[in-house]
């Protein structure tokens, strides 16, 4: 990593016009375990890999419900993530109290981004070392945002953060165009697939991942372990099946099936 004379302070610019402390904070996000988010027109799914420090300890909490219509998944310094979740919950509750209506997600992420930006411009503060995937639903539809320690935020159709997230992003880039029309089950399955990519060979079980969903008619909730395990098993069963069951078996189709079988491993 770069070590130079301009990286001591968050309020010191480098000659190249960079704030190294902010970039280092974004590195912290990359060190955290993976989290992915996907959205369709009516639902948003968040999935995260929960690593436990040891077999004796409980898993790190990565997904937080912020309000009935909003939830976040974090990657990076979980303590910072917990504090920011509390801030988000507070903002939502205050808005609900005054207006008796849910806080629009776009406005929530702007407040969060402004809060993060403050920490990049005060010499006595440090940037939050956590990236948040904010998933929510409001009257303008389903939204997925990514909030950066730098104070930037972007809206995404699908995104992945944390360690080995590039593998998940590659998988999502291939599939994202059809997400808009997905049902919630298909979204969850794709989220689990994406999580699997980040594990790079390790076995995916419901004990090491958390999946949460929010959508029209469905308040934000974390899907329980049993249901997640069933979905994982369904995915694995489908993977092991000989070919995608699109065409019925025909004499001419046999050759095509053969071709499909060769093609299938590359698909995954």
């Amino acid at each position: 990593m770069f070590r130079n004379q301009y990286d001591t302070d968050v309020t010191t610019w480098s000659p190249a016009g960079r704030l190294f402390q902010v970039e280092y904070a974004m590195e912290a996000v990359k060190q955290g375990s993976a989290a992915v988010g996907l959205r369709s027109r009516t639902h948003v799914v968040l999935a995260a890999v929960n690593k436990a420090a040891s077999d004796l300890s409980s898993h790190q909490r990565k997904v937080f419900k912020v309000d009935d219509h909003v939830g976040v998944a974090i990657a990076g310094l979980t303590a910072d993530g917990r504090v920011l979740s509390r801030y988000l919950r507070n903002e939502c509750i205050n808005h609900s109290f005054v207006y008796e209506a849910p806080l629009p997600v776009g406005r929530l992420v702007v407040r969060l981004a402004d809060k993060a930006q403050v920490c990049t411009q005060r010499s006595w503060k440090r940037p939050y070392g956590v990236g948040l995937l904010v998933a929510g639903l409001d009257e303008s539809g389903a939204h997925l945002y990514y909030n950066c320690p730098s104070g930037n935020y972007f809206e995404y159709q699908a995104f992945a953060i944390g360690s080995r997230s590039q593998a998940a992003k590659t998988y999502l880039e291939r599939r994202f165009e059809s997400f808009d029309k997905y049902s919630s089950e298909e979204l969850i399955k794709d989220a689990l697939f994406a999580i699997k990519e980040t594990l790079q060979g390790e076995k995916l079980t419901s004990s090491i991942c958390t999946v949460a969903i929010v959508g029209v008619g469905e308040p934000f909730h974390i899907i329980d372990q049993q249901a997640v395990q069933e979905m994982i098993e369904a995915i694995e069963a489908r993977e092991e099946a000989p070919a995608e069951p699109a065409e019925p078996a025909e004499p001419a189709g046999d050759i095509q099936d053969e071709g499909n079988q060769d093609a299938a491993p590359m698909e995954i």
């Binding site: 207006y99 629009p104 303008s140």
Partner: protein
Amino acid sequence: MFGSLETTLDLLPSFSSPFLGLELLPWGRRGRPIGVPTQVVMRALGQFLHGCLGWAPPWVNHEQEMYFSTWIDWETSCRYPYVTGTSVIGIKYKDGVLMAADTGGSYGSTLRYKSVERIKPIGKHSLLGASGEISDFQELLRYLDELILYDNMWDDGNSLGPKEIHNYLTRVMYNRRNKFNPLWNSLVLGGVKNGQKYLGVVTMLGAHFEDKHVATGFGNHLAVPILRSEWKEDMNFEEAVKLLEKCLLVLLYRDRSSINKFQIAKITEEGATIYPAYSLKTFWGFSAFQNPAKCAEGTW
């Protein structure tokens, strides 16, 4: 410090007491008890200085402790209304919400202002009508103006609907009442958003509720019974206006602070329309009104 004044002032109790701020023989700072007369003098001196100069030295007890809820704070007392508007009526109909109010502002028993618009559009989706103190209504309009401005500045496809504004007004009214400084209004908030019609009331005490037809002030007594028996679901515009006019006429005859100049306002999905003011035809040709001197010689 200040010569002879210091000796008496120094004797003020240095702790607050629960009963009228006065206690029998409390300890003074000099270690000697202070009698009630001294305390009364000190309090009076404090009030006098505070009233005259707008401030009083800190050793003089001029802060009104709110031991009794009936005590009035010196600067911002629970204000009495001066220029008031009378009833507002609101009903839901097929396309949205209709509201009616007269355009009179009374100064006590004098009908002083005859062109006061008491129903205003708020944002894209709502109408606010108010009875009670007109200046407080104008204050509320300023608050709401700021609220809508900030909402528009977001420019993100979200907008404040009638439900949100109703709740916001409830919070404002209730908080003011808790500080014994109410906005002396009864508000009617109506609107349509995404096909959903909304009609609610907030009183000066912060009480709030929603209904299909509402009225404030005298309207509660004279208009609501009519609305209860004759309002029906999904009236068209003409039927709804006829119903409102019926109520307005009763109010005109029977409420002394109403005038024969009304404004009807409607809010639909398309937006708000406030119609120009107009008058209703009244009938005074009752036989009992002929020959008024019949039973009272010399009357006019």
